[in-house]
Amino acid sequence: MFAGLFGKREVLLPVTLLGLAAALGVSVMSLSTGDAGWGTQYASMFSFDKYAQSFTAVTLASVLLLAGMSSWGFRTLNSSLGDHYALILFSLCGAVCMFSFTNLVMLFIGIEILSIPLYVLAGSRRDDLASNEAALKYFLMGAFATGILLFGMTLVYGSTGTFNTAAIGAAVERGVASPGMLKMGILLLVVGLSFKVSAVPFHFWAPDVYQGSPNTVTAFMATAVKTAGFAAFYRLFSTSFLGVNEFWSIGVAAIAGLTMTLSNFTAIFQTEFKRMMAYSSISHAGYLMMAILVAGQPGSAGAILLYMLTYSIATICAFSAYIVVAEPNGDGSFAAFNGLSKKQPLVALVMALSMLSLAGIPPLAGFFGKYFLFSTVMQQYPWLVVIAVINSAVSVYYYLKVIIAMYFTKEENTYEVLIPSSIRWVMVAGVVIITLLTVLPGNIFGLI
């Protein structure tokens, strides 16, 4: 940001990349040395434990790829380029708070630090009506959700007398004086967090916001922001509310089932790639909600982590392929991809791998994400797993649409597709990561 102030545009990206890489290096190092974390910090506000470290590493890896993509995605920005990087980094700080909080206040502050830059980013194409609409919608919905969340926290505080998540957990185990107030609080927290992770029936903002925002920002929202939302959701419910899980698990199970079913069936009818990806992202939120149900069970945190990583990398790869096709030609429909395999085999390959991985087709990384998630849930909620499996089969249909357009459709279009070198690097890195995850998914799963 300061570099932007001094007119040094060209150093912005290298500085951002270096900073992200350094942060990634530190978090991976502390993970690999088996460092139990830096313990509880700042008057028990944070605990940078293994859970927080591994989610931070995963998110940093995706943001690193996104930053690489942004050097081309943000090419039209002039004076505000520094602001964009700064906003993304601020948002990332919020995400890290959400991974490591041990206090409800920190969770709230984390969510706000994450969200406020996003409202600005969503509307960053100032002369575009859709972008303005996205920002306004996102802001209104986000503010509404924040209000509900805050209300929920207040009620939880009222019944347990503390903001510390572990202390809340202990109080809930013991039983509180006013269980009604606690339950209302939990309910409001579920609603508020469901807004944030765009789960049905609180998902209505997502397709419009995803579609209206600039592509790089959409990719950021669909990956890093979603990771933060689920990591926080899981962390809160696994530490604080396990004592009353029979109360909220029915609701969460219903949300999970509804989310995946509705979004998958809506995605089938989309003709625009970006809108399809919005619904696909909602459907993945549905699968991930199942992990909240088994919060605290061995393997469930690892399952979310692996799922989030495979999903994020595939989504970023898909968006990097999408922007080189759609942005120069101004066409975001599936037809824009017609005959791409002849014009740009690399782009088509990257897109095909991402789609197959998102669909969860073995042996690609996405399959292992789904496999670990489903097998963790299987013992307690077999019926939900059956719904999820049927939904995965449905999703194959719309992911294949892109592949059909790229490889099998004979009708040509006249679009020219060029790959800028930065995007090429993102694609190669993405394919390498997908391949690594395909070969060694257990290493990520076993981190936590």
């Binding site: 393997g299 042996p363 670990f372 499996v389 249909y397 099998f408 799963f445």
Partner: protein, 481 residues
């Protein structure tokens, strides 16, 4: 040594797809031949007492009890021989025509070969599932990129149908996995020891059955098959019919029945009736076909129905018959689809009525086609005979009535194959068929090898039967109902 059969084509496939070197045809053929040599050597140096040979067993995803464990017993060796014998023939037959984007085509074929070998070698349930699904991706691309009319719709149906079928198998495998003691494991030896109640076993068996029945295909799950076979390019059809459908039969022998013997008594009658219905149904449709490729597609359903019935009968005759017939059906059907391809490329049509008199102008072709056709009809002293005989014997032992109905397959088979051969090869030539050129060197080589195999395996079926004898005895002894 087993893992070489997977790794070699996989690396070659990656090389062809990503690096796109020159000399693609030679590389692909060389890999096919190398793989065949490896599998011959593996078969030569193996023991045939039902034990697993050439094992490789390394940890892969320990957190989920998944190991990369491969190896081959007698049945595995037979399947490996089938796959790697047909691969060079399929690659060679593809080379007699021009194909767009050859690196991609041969890269996908080799990826397919790696996955098929993986399916037949895996001794870990999840590894088996992963290879089973991996095989779907290259064949889908092959059929949808180089296919004919309606290929997008037809292949999408094929993909979704088989993908959904396999998901049911995944649920069954997962259920068995969660029943294994201690820290769970997907190893075949652990899964097979799981005791289920009859009710549980029925559901688990149905999960497996759905996956394998779609793949084979067994009536009434066959609806994707004729369209897909007809639409696919010849190489794709050969891979599908020659090798891929055997994945289903093999899966039933190796995984389905041994995992869930508790349900065998309850479900087998239904499966048998479905299989036998499929035989009659597909045979009758085949008799009425005017499109040669579609005719062979339906004949394939009939043959596979008999193989499936032999497996479900689960006695020595039935199992031995199904194993030898898998190999021989693979050889014959690849030969027949190559014949269709030769005719279609020369005449531009597959309709029987527009042919006739080809035997006069192309005698070499007529003889080789005749031998392969007789093999498909299961005339004694051709390779089709011992398999069909053993299969019918096995089904007869299970139930005389079913055996009698299944026996119709031989009569129907003779009717539709002889009718097709007669309409195509004999009679008067027309303007198109008078121009029919006889086989060139490469085509003669492919058809000649296939015809020679038809005769050799017809005279000496024991070569094959003794490969699997020990393993079949062991399986029959170990699976207790």
């Amino acid at each position: 040594m087993s893992f070489l059969l997977i790794i070699v084509p996989l690396i070659a496939s990656a090389l062809l797809l990503l690096a796109r070197p020159s000399g693609v045809r030679q590389i692909a053929l060389a890999v096919g031949v190398v793989n065949f040599a490896i599998s011959i050597f593996a078969a030569y140096s193996a023991l045939y007492d039902g034990t697993v040979n050439h094992e490789t067993n390394i940890a892969w995803i320990e957190q989920a009890g998944i190991r990369f464990s491969v190896g081959m017993d007698g049945i595995g060796i037979l399947m490996i021989l089938l796959t790697n014998l047909l691969t060079p023939l399929i690659i060679l037959s593809s080379q007699s025509q021009r194909i767009d984007n050859e690196p991609r085509y041969y890269g996908l074929v080799l990826m397919m070969v790696a996955a098929l070998n993986g399916v037949f070698l895996a001794t870990d349930g999840m590894l088996f599932y992963i290879f089973y699904e991996l095989a779907l991706i290259p064949i889908y691309f092959i059929c949808a990129i180089w296919g004919g009319e309606n290929r997008i719709r037809v292949t999408l149906k094929f993909f979704i149908y088989t993908f959904v079928g396999s998901l049911f198998m995944l649920v069954s495998l997962l259920y068995l996995y969660l029943k294994t003691p201690g820290s769970h494991s997907f190893a075949w030896t652990d899964l097979v020891n799981v005791q289920l109640s009859t009710m549980e076993a029925i559901w688990v068996m149905l999960g497996f059955f759905f996956a394998f029945a779609v793949k084979m295909p067994v009536f009434p799950f066959h609806t994707w098959q004729p369209d897909t076979y007809v639409t696919s390019p010849t190489g794709g059809t050969m891979l599908l019919s020659g090798i891929m459908l055997k994945m289903g039969v093999y899966g039933a022998i190796r995984w389905m029945v041994p995992m869930t013997p508790e349900a065998w008594h309850t479900l087998t009658p239904y499966f048998m009736v479905l299989a036998v219905t499929g035989i009659v149904y597909a045979s009758i449709i085949a008799v009425k076909q005017s499109d040669l490729k579609r005719l062979i597609a339906y004949s394939s359903i009939a043959h596979v129905g008999l193989i499936a019935a032999g497996v479900m009968a689960w006695n020595k005759m039935g199992l031995q018959g199904s194993l030898i017939q898998m190999l021989n059906h693979g050889i014959n059907v690849v030969g027949l689809f190559f014949v269709v391809d030769l005719i279609e490329r020369r005449l531009g049509t597959r309709t029987l009525r527009q042919m006739g008199g080809i035997a006069k102008v192309a005698p070499r072709f007529a003889v080789l086609f005749m031998i392969i056709m007789l093999g498909a009809v299961a005339v004694p002293l051709t390779n089709g005979f011992p398999g069909e005989f053993l299969l019918l014997n096995g089904v007869w032992q299970y139930n005389n009535w079913l055996g009698a109905v299944a026996g119709l397959t031989i009569i129907f088979g003779a009717v539709y194959m002889l009718r097709a051969y007669g309409m195509a090869m004999f009679g008067e030539t027309n303007a198109e068929t008078a121009e029919f050129t006889d086989l060139d060197g490469r085509e003669t080589a492919v058809l000649g090898i296939i015809a020679a195999l038809v005769l050799v395996l017809g005279f000496f079926p024991n070569i094959i039967l003794q490969l699997t004898d020990g393993t079949v005895n062991r399986i029959l002894g170990s699976v207790q109902f």
